[in-house]
Symmetry: C2
């Protein structure tokens, strides 16, 4: 399940072919530079980063792979470099709630440190993913011994918390088309112009789940947005002819004004 040397194996071509990933050795300098770009390691000294890098390994996993399930003993913290991962919870009777869907630059599994070293949700790859993973124990020690890391962790937690407040608000107050509008707007780059094109990052079914609705509802809600001239859509490609219109349509029913920048990720 959790083999460390996964990428540097015999069947390199096979992997490269099957997963389209460069089969490289663990490359500490590279990992260090990757880590240094992440909020958690903001302003952290090289020596500490080295410690993480040495304990870290790279891994690539295909779509569908379950990384861990809720209540599993937490061994790794993951940092996504590419691809998408779904975080979800399953109820006794089999229903599933999607907590979040993350991509490059995001970390998950980190909060296991504060939860008895067990994961509080399950994680599954939804688009082939490449990631850095390092042991929970390393993070745990770092947090206890390095105040800067603890502080970074605190801001990241705080950001997450706010995001979730928003999530709850949306589920309560926005209808399906509005939640979709909000989702689309959060995909926009910071310097949005009047209009723009973008691609849905993953399955419509998954977006639906992420937004707390059924695929059928999602489809129909998209149709509504289209009918109202707020978007044009073909396949996974979306065109927003007039961003301010869409902003009015969705963000009027939200407590946070439009470019909700700091909450994006």
């Amino acid at each position: 399940m959790t083999s460390k040397t996964l990428v540097c194996h015999a069947s390199a071509e096979y992997i490269a072919h099957m997963l389209s990933v460069a089969p490289h050795m663990l490359d500490h300098p590279n990992i260090v530079s990757e880590l240094s770009g992440v909020a958690l390691f903001n302003g952290i000294d090289e020596a500490t980063l080295q410690q993480f890098a040495q304990a870290a390994s790279l891994r690539t996993e295909p779509k569908g792979k379950i990384l861990f399930i809720q209540e599993d003993e937490a061994e790794w913290v993951y940092l996504i470099q590419r691809g998408w991962v779904k975080m979800f919870r399953e109820t006794m009777d089999g229903a599933e709630a999607v907590i979040d869907v993350m991509t490059a630059g995001h970390m998950f599994g980190d909060n296991a440190v504060f939860e008895n070293d067990s994961y509080s949700y399950s994680a599954q790859v939804v688009e082939q993913v490449q990631m850095i993973m390092f042991p929970v124990s390393v993070l745990k020690k770092a947090i206890a011994s390095n105040p800067s890391i603890a502080l970074n962790m605190l801001s990241s937690m705080s950001r997450h918390r706010q995001q979730q407040h928003l999530e709850i608000e949306h589920l309560n107050l926005q209808n399906a088309p509005q939640r979709i509008g909000c989702f689309l707007l959060r995909l926009c780059p910071a310097d949005v112009g009047q209009s723009l094109n973008l691609n849905l990052p993953y399955d419509k079914t998954l977006i639906a789940a992420r937004l707390g609705m059924k695929p059928e509802t999602f489809s129909r809600a998209l149709a509504v947005l289209k009918k109202d001239g707020l978007i044009e859509i073909t396949g996974a490609s979306v065109f927003i002819p007039n961003v301010p219109h869409l902003v009015t349509y969705t963000c009027d029913h939200c407590s946070t004004a439009f470019p909700c920048e700091d909450l994006k990720g």
Copy 2:
């Protein structure tokens, strides 16, 4: 339970009448002992507690009082000793989402430290409240300089985050009666027997909002639970004749097994 001296003061009626601030001297020893009972100050040395206590003040506020609103510059962190406070967000078009409702032992406003010193939600008293408040700046400095406080803060954040995951899950997967069932079960003491009595802690209208439903829906959902023999209810007093029955009814549609202890508060 909490207050030691507060009630036996000079101008008690005046306070009740004029609503605002209890005009008594700060009582450091008492505040220290209050603080030491809170998770954030777990294992914190006396000297540090003194610093908080010296900067702290006690306050009593009547039902209805707005303590602060979203985006306000954050000046104080609040620790509830008695009463209930509602945390909520308001959208552009006037709708309101209740994020949480807190009581004795809970702290709020604390996360402003990580959010540019501004509150990310509004807070209003819903049942006359008595609380300790200390400046955000004091907490901020303490977090930066005292690793134990930072760590305590981290666990508290983490707990909140998990609670919110659950909240989101419930909004997605549970229906009105089930959400109410869950709410009631979380009011139960740890040593629940087969059956028990309890009182709704605040307005039904507010409970409804807290659970993301309308008062009418709440009322009807209670009626359903009653009809199914899961609860008996008169006014604000609820009797649960068979706790396991209610647990089955609600918790089957949740990812967390019944006594979801650690998430209660």
